[in-house]
């Protein structure tokens, strides 16, 4: 009597919202990679001098490039938020019989994120 096999469909990740959100979370890495390449190219122009650098920045002020940056930002934010929210699953801290509540694991990560971002912004934006 032959058992019947039901192979998983290639579009399995479209069949359920939780699977789709998972796939979108993973695909944020494409945007993160793309932005980091963009930043690398920007730095290579910075190395070539103020003229080339300014020209690069002007070229990338177009609607298309700003849209790319905004989409990359949305993707990066989704990565950050899903990442920090998962930290309590990976980092389990016990006090005797009790487990430290998830918010106290994720919370400090968010706090560090905001603090570091603020410091970097201050360093860059101060004249």
């Amino acid at each position: 009597m032959k058992p019947y096999n039901r192979p998983i469909s290639a579009s399995w990740w479209l069949s359920k919202s939780s699977y789709l959100l998972f796939m979108l979370r993973e695909l944020t890495s494409i945007f993160v990679w793309a932005f980091l390449i963009y930043y690398l190219v920007q730095l290579s122009h910075l190395a070539k001098g103020t003229e080339k650098y300014t020209a690069f920045l002007e070229r990338h002020a177009s609607f298309g490039w700003i849209l790319f940056a905004v989409l990359a930002l949305v993707a990066a934010l989704y990565h950050s938020i899903t990442w920090f929210n998962l930290t309590p699953k990976v980092l389990v801290v016990r006090k005797g019989e009790e487990k430290i509540p998830p918010a106290l694991i994720a919370g400090p990560h968010y706090a560090a994120w905001l603090a570091i971002s603020a410091v970097i912004a201050w360093i860059v934006l101060r004249s």
Binding site: M1, K2, P3, Y4, N5, R6, P7, I8, W12, W13, S15, K16, S18, Y19, F22, E26, L86, K89, V90, V92, R94, G96, E97, E98, K99
Partner: protein, 248 residues
């Protein structure tokens, strides 16, 4: 008062009669307090005695009655008809497993994987009886208790796309079980389990979809267990690089 009813679309596979499975539609009485398992038992008792499926305790502790209900792995003894009314309710065997007959799946792969993680207390040296029992504080128990609650219902395997794509994947319940023993203060077998748990077909295949933990009826959180084992695996690598003379 007119009696309400609900339709069940049930997966049928009779290998002695057919090559391909079919779906059979049945109408069962709708009762507020019925679960899908009650509907299946009604069907078998009153309508179609040929329907085959597994069940036992009907109260969510034995792990026998796992099936796909409207595409989600559920314990049918815990899936209330009122949550699916007016239906129809599609009942299929657990995904990612070969179907033996109707709603019954082949468990062999799962059983073999459970055994492969050596799910028992492993000691370098058994403590002599004269020294009494292995003592464990409530805090030491708390370390692994969550992961010991698994009822082997296999809903996590049905939910896991990695297992669906890669049948060699060790899977959520087996890894959570290994983690349960690795965290047990009485156990000294972590290095013995390494080959299997830190092997290529084990924790590293997991991409943290987390659907296993979402469907688990006992809140075992196998996804968490797997990530914690990944950390252990990474630390093990660091140790083996920094201290290659270390034991085993």
């Amino acid at each position: 008062m007119a009696e309400r009813s609900i339709t069940l679309e049930v997966f049928r596979y009779r290998p002695d009669k057919e090559q391909e499975p079919t779906f059979q539609s049945y109408t069962v009485p709708y009762r507020e307090d019925w679960v899908v398992l009650d509907a299946l038992n009604y069907l078998k008792d009153q309508v179609d005695g040929s329907l085959s499926y597994r069940w036992s305790c009907r109260m969510g502790v034995c792990g026998s009655c796992g099936m796909m209900v409207n595409g989600t792995p559920r314990l049918t003894c815990a899936a209330f008809l009122k949550d699916y009314y007016p239906g129809p309710v599609r009942v299929e065997p657990l995904a990612n497993f070969p179907v033996e007959r109707d709603l019954i799946v082949n468990l062999d792969d799962f059983m073999q994987k459970l055994k492969s993680v050596k799910p028992w207390i492993v000691r370098d040296q058994e403590q002599p009886i004269s020294e009494g029992e292995y003592r464990q504080s409530p805090a030491e128990l708390a370390n692994y208790k969550q992961f010991s609650m698994c009822i082997n219902c296999m809903l996590c395997y049905a939910a896991c796309p990695v297992y669906g794509l890669e049948p060699e994947f060790l899977g959520p319940a087996a890894i959570a079980l290994a983690h349960r023993y690795n965290l047990d203060s009485r156990d000294q077998g972590q290095s013995l389990r390494k080959d299997v748990v830190f092997g290529h077909e084990a924790i590293w295949q997991c991409t943290f979809v987390s659907e296993c933990s979402v469907v688990c009826p006992k809140d075992v959180d196998p996804a968490g267990a797997i990530q914690q084992e990944k950390v252990a695996g990474a630390l093990d690598l660091v140790k083996s690089v920094l201290m290659p003379w270390g034991s085993r």
